[in-house]
Symmetry: C2
């Protein structure tokens, strides 16, 4: 069997160019590498080097072998990472999401530490979710699609409803619920980290302008001292930390239509389902208590 230290020597040689540098780089002596490469050629039954008395050169087969060896070593590295991540997830589940809402609910449960977990605040690109779960970099992800498959399983947690916060003097504020069409052409202040919601508003609202803010504080400033509309959801609205100073010149309105809703799923590796089920059940209970329509008061002056 060809052992990996030989592959590592070959890969290093390809980068370094000489056996001497290779040896130095691997902190061994030159004869060690000489013998290693001889052994590798022997093991493969393939001539990997053109030998000039003073210089060693990779043959075409040697170049290929070095590339392949690098791939083999990467695969082994991946194995180590996956296994180590897996056990780390058993000790403290790392939880991610493609939209921020579910993480807010999760934090509200933190007082009852039913579960040892940590939260990865950076939102995940939806297409990377399977990879993150497979590699156990994340142990649980809140997604907006059902990713159930041979390795993963998704279960619905609840529905998140999009609200828009409008200046109370705007004519659109004069209805309990607005449609995306009513919002066409407006300029909105939005947070950067809203994940999939960005796609929703970007696609559904025509001719709109979005002023992105990556800081929550800056966002609060602007909403307080301007009349630009902004978005919330039934989840963020229920978040106590989200309205440190309520912008009382605005009214919160539902947005009509199925496109203004996202079904949130809890997605985990099948393997982990029993491990996380208690937490999932707590989340479902908490989610069920959320309102589905704006609760904050504020009536339109025109009404």
């Amino acid at each position: 069997m060809i052992e990996n230290y030989l592959l590592e020597e070959l890969v290093t040689f390809q980068r370094m160019g000489t056996l001497k540098k290779t040896a130095a780089h691997l902190a061994v002596t030159q004869p060690t590498v000489t013998r290693g490469m001889q052994k590798l050629e022997d093991g493969l039954g393939v001539k990997l080097f053109d030998r000039h008395p003073n210089r060693l050169e990779l043959t075409a087969a040697g170049e290929l072998a070095a590339k392949e060896a690098a791939a083999v070593l990467r695969r082994q590295e991946l194995m180590v990472n996956r296994v180590q991540n897996f056990v780390a997830q058993n000790q403290a589940l790392t939880i991610g999401a493609v939209v921020p809402g579910p993480l807010i609910i999760l934090k509200r449960l933190a007082g009852a530490p039913l579960f040892n977990h940590q939260v990865d605040e950076r939102l995940v690109e939806p297409e990377r979710v399977p990879e993150e779960l497979t590699d156990d970099r994340l142990g649980m992800v809140f997604t907006t699609t059902d990713l159930t498959g041979p390795d993963l399983i998704s279960q619905p947690l609840g529905v998140e409803h999009l609200f828009v916060n409008l200046d109370r003097f705007l004519p659109q504020a004069n209805q309990t619920a607005v449609s995306f069409k009513d919002l066409a052409g407006l300029s909105f202040v939005v947070l950067d980290d809203i994940g999939a919601w960005k796609d929703v508003i970007g696609k559904e609202i025509e001719d709109a302008h979005f002023m992105c803010q990556d800081e929550r504080d800056a966002m609060d400033e602007i909403t307080r001292y301007s009349s630009f509309p902004h978005f919330t959801t039934n989840v963020t609205a229920a978040d106590p930390s989200y309205h440190p100073v309520p912008a009382n010149n605005r009214v919160e309105r539902s947005i009509k239509g199925p496109k203004a809703e996202l079904t949130i799923y809890v997605t985990v590796k099948r393997q982990r389902q029993t491990q996380v089920q208690p937490l999932v059940d707590r989340l479902k209970t908490a989610w069920a208590k959320l309102p589905t329509t704006p609760t904050t008061g504020g009536t339109n002056v025109l009404k």
Copy 2:
């Protein structure tokens, strides 16, 4: 560094269930495997086994590690195969094709053995061509599309023209070239191994029936003692072995339109281009001498 023999022991244990059987299967003693698995756990820093005094059981992490280890070993196996295939291709290029025509031209060059090669008669599925070349199971493939990319390079060899052989009493035989529409509704005898041509005739001729023959001899029988039309090309028509007994009740006709032509490319790994260029040039020369229209005589009686 974790060496592969440890991974092999783990994989074997997952299959065998006990260290004893594992040891027997690997032709080593039991303590060797015990120590190996301890070393692997140590190297990964992960507990892979639940230890009962009399029984060893994989933990969830152990199951995952075993699966991953199998993948690592497969990757290494792939490396070995690729490298060994590569050198084999340098000694004797194995040549494949997605349509049989170019192989006929190739064989006609065999008298002038400019090149040490062998031919793989089984046609390749077009979508498998990149894989076959990357793995060096084939060193050169005749394709009908340009697969030029970072690793592969295609160069056009020539165009193969489809002919149809019609009973001379058929009205369609009364023109020097027919269209696919003229052939609608007919029943044809066709060889199985015609690769991409099958897609062409299947798509372009409406309501046609195809009687597939996997044997060249059976095909010849049928064409001789029946009047079913069949197909040839400017390449097969030039093949001396293809008309052992010319079916003289038929006339060979061109088919009109670009769909009745296939551009044939020679596709190789970039790396191999200089190696094969002399052969490719010979093939191009030979191809250029082919007719583009039917040469065999035979006039329609109605003419």
